[in-house]
Symmetry: C2
Subunit: 347 residues, 2 copies
């Protein structure tokens, strides 16, 4: 599988003594694994030896077995592509969505322990933690807001306290998520159709996008496959209707902004991250398709404006590396601190 | 299978010449089938020869095959219990939830045609139509509001026009349903827990009801089995918290009242059922656990009060028979009209 590597010395930019780190970002839509070399000093840009991609690894969405198969597949592929042996792996950090509880973490850790030799350091976190690390280059300080298919806000203080808000899934009201925005838009189409609410541009645009002749067909369409990502894929239609002046689409986006800002504010408040006067600096790492600033109606910017009204020290960060690299940097930081005897003060 | 019946004459209250009618109410939680005798004159109370019950027959919830198995099982059982032969069946009326589209209706009719001899009259309707008929003794005039696990409003005019509102399922915003009320209550617990909203009595009461130690466990609980009925079963907890003065629980119920009233008003408006001055009489048949008047916080009464403000002629009807009997009465009416040569003017 790997004839480019010798035993000892440096191959493919990897110091064999120091080995490699696997960082993984497992979301509801896709799973990415990267392999980076471990080294004494973190290079900028971070050298990524290999990257592999697969589908959903959220056990709540696809079940335990399918989630694990996806994780194993994507880690093996990244390692193979990197030209490194399994024995070179020093640490693995998994940032996986659906890790909501210490039990989830423990279950995945137990399973990882059967895959990797005992000297390999293993870290399992919610994917929000990897996303935060992608904006802070591995340092766990500040707040991260993810809004893609789902949404969650997570915060860490420098003295190791943490808090989260939202991220509870569609049943439990993640209305700022891509799924939430699109589900509200679909609901608006139904309500306009049956006379409960005013007409909206969303009707024609959504039916056209889905290739459906009438709002009556929407019920069958949602039941046919209620996958969150399939519904969330309608967000750009909502944004374009809002940009074209549709009042209901604008209301849906404004509500989403309030929801997203309130989950950031809840986390910052609980951790006292704004300091006594509320003006202290802290980064807010912004991640996910809903927050991408490529539209006139910029949801991410509006969320920041909302947060700034309460916490003027909040500083938005758009990560330069992806969350999988964030996960790898997290492992890099843990390993380095451990090497410096700081393990028990890990952030 | 049936040794109590002779050929010819009257047995078990059934005139063998006239035969029997099967009426079926298929909801998301349960499916009921009744067998009534067909006769020239409708008796009061309606003589029910037999009644059989089974689980969910909504194809959107349990899939096509399971839904059909349930329907066959419950019809066979009702017929067997009634002491009637299959050959005595004159008409079958299925009121099934999940019939949202002519295609759904046609699919079930095709399948029924393979089960019953060709002379048997077959009718397939949304379960809301059977529910309306249960309040109007088979006459299709007025409006019905169902609010159980799901919710739908349906209306029929005497000249045969019809309209519906809501009934699109949880993804498409049936917020007045039992599921909708309970999902909002669960969301309120999550929001109070992560600091996005104020504390509510719902937290302790819901956790106690579900036997969970902390709101963190709610995410796992909802993912473990997202069946709508299981979530809707929490409605009494929300009502009791509202009765005890909890502001958030009261807000959730008030919102549900507005949602339910708006779906009735949308139907009545589209059909012009209130007449030119809005004051004409029409019945509103109220069906389902959410509308049951056995609580101090009476959701059904509040909905009626809301509707009366717009349509003073609206007259609430609490059905004396169950929706399965309503389905049978619907078939009884169709058969009678057909016998009188009025088939093509069926309501």
């Amino acid at each position: 599988m790997n004839d480019k590597r010798s035993n000892g010395g440096i191959t493919n930019g990897v110091d064999d003594e120091l080995g490699v780190i696997l960082g993984l970002d497992g979301g509801t839509t896709s799973t990415i694994c990267v392999c980076i070399p471990f080294s004494g000093q973190l290079a900028d840009p971070v050298p990524v030896l290999a990257r592999a991609a697969a589908g959903c690894s959220n056990h709540n969405s696809v079940g335990e077995t399918a989630a694990r198969d996806t994780l194993v597949q994507v880690m093996s592929e990244a390692l193979l592509k990197s030209g490194s042996k399994k024995s070179a792996v020093r640490a693995v950090c998994l940032g996986v969505s659906g890790v909501n509880h210490p039990d989830d973490q423990e279950r995945i850790l137990n399973w990882l322990r059967n895959i990797f030799p005992s000297h390999v350091k293993l870290y399992v976190q919610n994917d929000a933690v990897a996303a935060l690390a992608s904006g802070t280059m591995g340092k766990l300080h500040g707040c991260v807001l993810i809004a893609g298919t789902g949404t969650i806000s997570y915060g860490f203080t420098e003295d190791g306290r943490e808090a989260r808000a939202a991220g509870a899934g569609p049943i439990l009201g993640d209305w700022g998520s891509g799924y939430g925005i699109a589900a509200k838009a679909l609901t608006a189409v139904i309500r306009a159709h049956d006379g409960r609410d005013s007409q909206t541009m969303l009707t024609d645009r959504i039916l056209q996008t889905l290739g459906l002749p009438s709002p009556d067909e929407l019920i069958g369409w949602t039941y046919a496959d209620p996958s969150w990502a399939r519904i969330a894929a309608l967000v750009p239609v909502v944004v374009s209707c809002a940009e074209a002046g549709d009042e209901i689409a604008n209301q849906i986006l404004n509500d989403a902004v309030q929801e997203l800002a309130s989950s950031v504010i809840a986390v910052v408040k609980r951790l006292g991250m704004g300091g006594q006067d509320g003006n202290s600096y802290f980064p807010i790492v912004m991640v996910g398709g809903v927050l991408e600033a490529n539209k006139r109606w910029d949801i991410g910017k509006e969320v920041i404006n909302c947060v700034l009204r309460t916490y003027p020290g909040a500083t938005p960060v758009r990560p330069k590396v992806d969350p999988a690299v964030g996960a790898a940097l997290l492992a890099w930081n843990y390993l380095t601190k451990e090497a410096n005897g700081e393990y028990h003060r890990q952030p």
